[in-house]
Amino acid sequence: MATTKLTPAEETMLGAAVDAATTPGMETVTMPYGIPGYTLTQVERQIPSTEPPVLPVNKDLQYIGKSPARWDAHAKVSGAGRYTADIQLPGMLYAKFVNAAVPHARIVSIDTSAAEKLPGVKGVYIIQHLLGGAVLRNPSLDPSQYPIVRYAGQPIAAVAATLPHIAEEAALLVKVQYDAKPFVVDMQKARQSNSPQVFPGPADQAGSAGGGGGPHGVPQTGNIHGPAVHKVGDAEQGFKDADVVVESKYTTQVQTHSALETHGVVADWKPDMLTVWASTQGTASVREELAAYFKLPKSQVRVITEFMGGGFGAKFGAGNPGVVAAALSKQTGAPVRLMLDRKEEHLSVGNRPSSDQTLKIGAKKDGTITAIQLVSYGTAGCGTGAGCAGPATNLYKWATLHTEENDVFINAGPATAMRAPGHPQGAFALEQTIDELAAKLNMEPLELRDKIDENPVRRVERQIVRESALWKSRNPMPNADRGSIKRGVGLSQSVWYRHINMNSAAEVRVHRDGSVEVLSAVQDIGTGIKTVLAQVLSEQFGVPPEKVSVKIGDTNYPVGPNSGGSVTTASLTPAVRDAAWQASQKFLASIAPALGTTPDDLVLTNGEVSSKSGKMQPISFRRAAAKMNTDEVSAQAKRIPDYNQGHYDTYGGVDVAEIEVDTETGLIRVKKIFAVHDCGRPMNPSQVINQINGGLIQGISYTLYEHRLLDPNFGLMVNHNLEQYKIAGSREVPELHVELIESYIGQSSTDASGIGEAAGVMSAAAAIGNAFHNATGVRIRTMPMTPSVVLEALSKTPQRSETV
């Protein structure tokens, strides 16, 4: 490999590196850089001299970059793994929420007397209105003892009993008297000036809102919070400069997270320690919130997540379940378990907001984008977060940009972050519009993307797609099939951003009996970080993953990152490798005298300790450990900043979908998806591919099936289950083929990156949409693409009458 020609930013870094040789504590190293088989070269980095040696590319490693069986697979499939709902403590009580039955109301009274008299009931907790020094925003409201109800399903109170069915019965006995208020659950109606107000009171004007405290100039008018405006350059002039302009409207629906495991906690309040088992994506976030809420030192709050059944962004912080369970445990003196049921999961703990987007793109004849303009309205229920401008802002080069994002309040449960927030919605519109633009410019979709996307990794991914049999099989012209079943192929790109959580630390211990363990508070949300940490230890100590111990998911261990935004592997594995490296050096120093040599003469590989000089015969790791001069050596390390902070990396992929459209029934069948993705150094390719498979399936499900339905007359969700709220099942999952790109970026001691957000979930809808156009010649701009939506789209076009 030859050293590459670097970017100006990197040359600046290298300029500094000249000084690194003379800077105490720093050294210059050469690291792999680029994509093996395509662009692999080397890059120089200046790094702290305490860092471990640079890892070579995956093919030259023994454990990292390989795909050993999941470290906890047996525990999962055998039932030995303990999820939150499996926790059983002596004397434990079972709690059940009392939830609002109406979508908008002031609570007049709550009568818990009948519930309290039910045998077996041990505690009742009412969520109080903690007004404190606050002044009600709406002066027409009388100060109430209870918070305003803003959606049906909002937690109001909870009961704790000795058995689950007693708690359920007691919850039904709680009498709530409502002063019902007008409500709105339809976003279009909510935008009207005469609509019932979700947050009534004086409007916030752009000049005062924000006040320098956040995004500037975000007004509130009625139920609309927005627009949040982002302008770069003069988009109006950009459109004037364009040779071609494409403008369209796109609509996406609300999706709920629907993780296999619902939200839940087991709280055990003791005088000196609050211990909480939580289904969470962040043990640190749960501890922080409980400590702050109950004004406890963090050292007196312990959060444990042994196994966890998915979250997709909805499980951060303690939430009402955490606070209420802890309060009930304190009140009753007993451990309390509070697990939400599926209905509560749909209603009250998050969703992906909807979107109505108007997207306009202007371009020169050669494809250069002169302007992008996006105006979006979306509802995050009674919360905010419906923005979707990420793809339009970040996926391609443009000369000018103008985005306006609006939240529309309705009387429905608040959104929370959901896998690649805003991006599946935004990509659905953007990537179809890019295809439309390509058609107008008489360019191939890949040709135009090559023009407007210079990312070198995406460029390789597009090349792989271009040469694939699936892409070559697309119809040269849309609507090629003459029968009622029409086949089409389309693609979409995705993008996500490299972020590092510095709250990432680990301790590695080596014991005299030869056992090795790693400890970190990080939780495994199902993506396999336990296995990856085992691989990192194995690479350092030369023992197989099944021989090391991984202890995570407990705030008693060194702090771990919250798992969201594709940060876990990129953030934590360098800290683990650093700790493993330091522990291994201590280990070698401890045993070298007994082996008659020096530490730097010793090598750890293949389960043995051997000598470079031949001073000793190789011996097993376990026998070598027995020669340690102490019972244990250990090292703790925390994440250090990326080696090249001046460069902003992205991850992404190019996904190709093959579909069949039944133009008589309106059914879409996804037959195949070919996905080419990158995530830095793949630490465990099998697990990465699993995440991409999951993202694609979730994306297909979002595109074709999932749809939260609210009854406009009563304000209730009518499909609050997994029967009427349809999720893609085995019959709907197509053939999935993932090609994983190794992309070395020289950023840390493992050079790992993330995959969760870019893993197909944001690109599936647009790829299917573009495939639909290739199949039928019709643009489908509404999700979910149910049969009625498909037939409606087809009915508006001449193509259908020609072919049916």
Binding site: G211, E288, G381, D642
Partner: protein
């Protein structure tokens, strides 16, 4: 990225899971979302409304709001 500058500290009870994970190279536990896809909740209510029954948002949970609590030094 459409991040906007933050000039004053938001209320200490404002919570978010920034959709972009965390800001690069940051050690803070919680980061105020700076994008329109950020969702928020209040530590005191565990919901999207504050104690004053107005909605929770980085642009709203600022000095001058009656329930505002300044971050501790």
């Amino acid at each position: 990225m459409s991040a906007t500058e933050i000039k004053v500290l938001p209320c200490q009870c404002l919570r978010t899971k920034n959709p972009y994970g965390t800001t690069p190279q940051s050690a803070d536990t919680w980061h105020p979302g700076t994008h329109a896809a950020s969702t928020y909740w209040c530590l005191r209510t565990m919901g999207p409304a504050g104690p004053d029954e107005h909605y929770v948002h980085l642009a709203r949970c600022i000095p001058g709001r009656s329930c505002y609590q300044a971050p501790e030094d």
